[in-house]
């Protein structure tokens, strides 16, 4: 079974089964980052461009680690909004890169829809690393993975996003991902930072953060930017903290333990107090760790590899997507192009079993199917 998309532009475009597939594919990749030699040859020979039109440290570094740990060749291009305004258009930049024969583009852009614009114009895989106020799908995926890691499930979990929902691409990716996986989603923040008709997406709006805390299993605390204060969307960071800040005093009134997520970078003492950020319920650094694994999974799937073969990739086997496609079409048995290493025997046996399962089900080639099917493929 293979990912049916050329690009990852947003979680709105993915099915429940596809999102689950990415999360499942992330699991075996987590371990690679724990090794002494953090590298597998899965994307050897692939060229990936990290095209960042907005400043970013965490996301760019996370993508770069993911790419390098999969042995891809990477190039980073950073530019500022002012230089695009003066110079080359996005489409020209992309076509020039394309002319150098690249395989994937990871793009961060201040304009919503820019990754989609690019994806419609170049044959390379395009991964959205955050576009304007639209989506940040890999952040959404790593948030989902972290919630699943700590709570064991996503279905039925009540998650409230707190803060600037209006300008937040993290919020939108969270909303789509969580809803598709059966969570209950709420948003909470100053009404001037809640987008119109947000309820239409299927989320509940909390006016008071106390109400959100009373009902939530998870709070995803979003960053508040000083520039929003300057735009008169709320009067001061101080008052924001007083009304919406997440503190231990507020959390202590919760009827249950609440998992605390934050996409970073944190403004301590504004949207989140240090006692919470450094407290026992915060999983903020686990999110960062998961970010690398999720991004490795996304790169792996978009490169055309089979969802069910991530564990083999982890064992250090080398794959060629085209060969893998051929095998899926044929016997259904994956054929590593090289003999497995010491640990490879067991993995190959497992892979063989999975291959037979798939073949018995009639050989699902190409598209990711239902969640149930994925569950079966995973076990």
């Amino acid at each position: 079974m293979r990912f049916a998309h050329k690009d990852l532009l947003g979680l709105e475009d993915l099915t429940r089964g596809e999102i689950t597939a990415v999360l499942d594919t992330s699991e075996p990749f987590k371990e690679i980052s724990e090794r002494r030699i953090k590298k597998v040859p899965v994307l050897r020979g692939k060229t990936i461009v990290n095209l960042f039109y907005e400043p970013s440290t965490r996301t760019r570094v996370s993508f770069e680690f993911a790419e390098k740990r999969l042995s891809a060749d990477t190039v980073n291009i950073s530019t500022t909004m002012s230089s695009i305004a003066k110079g080359e258009t996005l489409v020209d930049t992309a076509r020039n890169l394309e002319a150098m024969r690249i395989d994937m583009v990871v793009i961060r852009h201040g304009a919503s829809g820019a990754p989609r614009f690019l994806a419609e114009r170049i044959p390379s895989n395009v991964i959205n690393a955050g576009d304007g106020s639209h989506e940040h799908p890999t952040q959404g995926l790593l948030d989902l993975l972290t919630i699943r890691d700590f709570l064991g499930r996503i279905e039925g979990v009540r998650v409230v996003l707190v803060g600037d929902i209006l300008h937040s691409r993290v919020a939108r990716s969270n909303i789509w991902g969580l809803l598709k996986l059966g969570a209950e989603v709420g948003v909470c923040g100053p009404p001037s930072l809640i987008p119109p008709e947000i309820e239409g997406l299927g989320v509940r709006v909390y006016r008071h953060v106390e109400d959100a805390i009373a009902e939530a299993d998870v709070l995803n605390v979003l960053r508040i930017q000083l520039e929003r204060q300057k735009a008169n969307l709320f009067p001061s960071l101080r008052e924001y903290n007083r009304i919406f800040g997440i503190s231990n005093a507020r959390l202590s009134r919760a009827p249950r333990d609440i998992l605390i997520l934050h996409p970073g970078p944190m403004n301590r003492g504004v949207e989140i107090d240090s006692d919470v950020a450094d407290g026992e319920h915060a999983v903020i650094l686990d999110q960062v760790t998961n970010g690398v694994a999720v991004r490795m999974a996304v790169l792996y799937l978009l490169a055309g590899f089979d969802v069910t073969r991530a564990r083999e990739a982890k064992e250090g086997l080398e794959f060629e997507p085209e060969a893998a496609r051929g095998s899926a079409k044929g016997s259904g048995t994956p054929r590593p192009s090289r003999q497995p290493g010491p640990a490879g025997g067991a993995a190959e046996a497992r892979a063989g079993e999975r291959g037979r399962d798939t073949a018995a089900k009639g050989g699902d080639r190409g598209e990711v199917g239902s969640g149930a099917e994925l569950e079966e493929a995973r076990t």
Binding site: G110, G113, G132, S133, H134, E135, P196
Partner: protein, 487 residues
Amino acid sequence: MSGRRDAARAAPPQRAASRGELLLKGGRIVDPRAGIDARLDLRLEDGCVAEVGERLAAREHARVIDCSGKVVVPGLIDAHVHLREPGREDEETIESGSLAALAGGFTSVLAMPNTDPVTDSQAAVGFIRAQAARAGHAHVYPIAAATRGSLGSEMSEIGDLVAAGAVAITDDGRPIADAGVMRRILEYSRIFDVPVVQHCEDLALTDGGVMHEGRISTRLGLKGIPAASEEVVVARDLILAELTGAHYHVAHLSTARSAELVAEAKRRGVRVTAEVTPHHLVLTEEAADGYDTQAKMNPPLRSGRDVEALREALAAGTLDIVATDHAPHHYDEKEREFDFAPFGILGLETAFGLLHTELVLAGRIGLADLIERMSPAPARIFHLAGGGLEVGQVADVTVLDLEREWTVEPEAFLSKSRNTPFGGRQLVGRAWMTIVDGQVAWRLDRDPAVADEPRHAASAAGRRSATARQGKVRSPASAHAREGAAR
């Protein structure tokens, strides 16, 4: 499709003074001002309507056009186009825009002043008229800037501009934001009785928005333009129009509430008229889904509820006219991120087909009412020649083929630009022949029924007599310029 373009370009219209007779036989004449909807013949002579009647006999040398199966209407008038000249001749010129007008069945267009430089001087008004006369396609009436440089602070020399041929004043593209300035302009405009056309937008409420604020903007993460951005200015201006007694005209009205406000003001007797674009009658905010920059315009495409209300308001006459807000943009400029693409789409060559297909055939408005909103009503509001087929009236006539099924092909447009969200759309009905000053200025087919002879232009004398008969009615720019040239 290239054949059509060739047809239009192969026979460049000659506007040299000469006389001729054109007899349109066997068509269904729909003349809303005269209340005519019947199968009649139409004789055009010396640039004027000479006779309307049954079985008119062709005289010697008359050119006879078989219009059976076609509908003959007074030439369509588009009161809101951007011709981009001077300043952005890569996007459109007065020549290309007035030719595109003909292809859409428009015999007259009103050119907005947001060019570079802005049309805020007699010289600028004169330039537009001279270029229009040189092109010799549709009549082009300049609308002049209400404030110097359209900067919204100092009133422009409205008297001079009107004397030079401006038919209305506006700062279109941007609003006249200052209520005090707006009040003075409305008051002062009463000397000349020209409409003050307002682009209704509160820029503080728009605040950098790029599409309608609502469900889709929330999903796409695009900054929204609330309906209130338009409505608060409409409401304010209606109060000022009532205060001053001036003629106030709402450009490209786009929301249900704006239409309600206009309807209510009309009931109170305020001198207000309003226009709506074909795209606001046909498309909703959904068209911007997928970040399609061809669906980016200002005012933005609104909700389905708004579209429904606009259709009703057009049928009811609350919205007086349809105007296209034809806004050419270069291909590269629309090939951008949604945030960075310019606002605006083409309108001239798709307007009638869209409205006929989506409104008339859908039973939302009668054909005669649609024609009324596209010819007599704009002629009345802006005091223009044309708008009817009365004897002595200027011979601006559009012949429509209501049965013609066609597909919108932007590559075949006569406009210099291609920015339309309607590419590939199947439409029914389009202009078949466009007659300006009694001469065939454009036609769809190389029909053997139409002799392939060079066009003759109406004589200056004919135009003058038509004008004289109509008192203060303004004659088209091209006619004036021709007179000048003849002298």
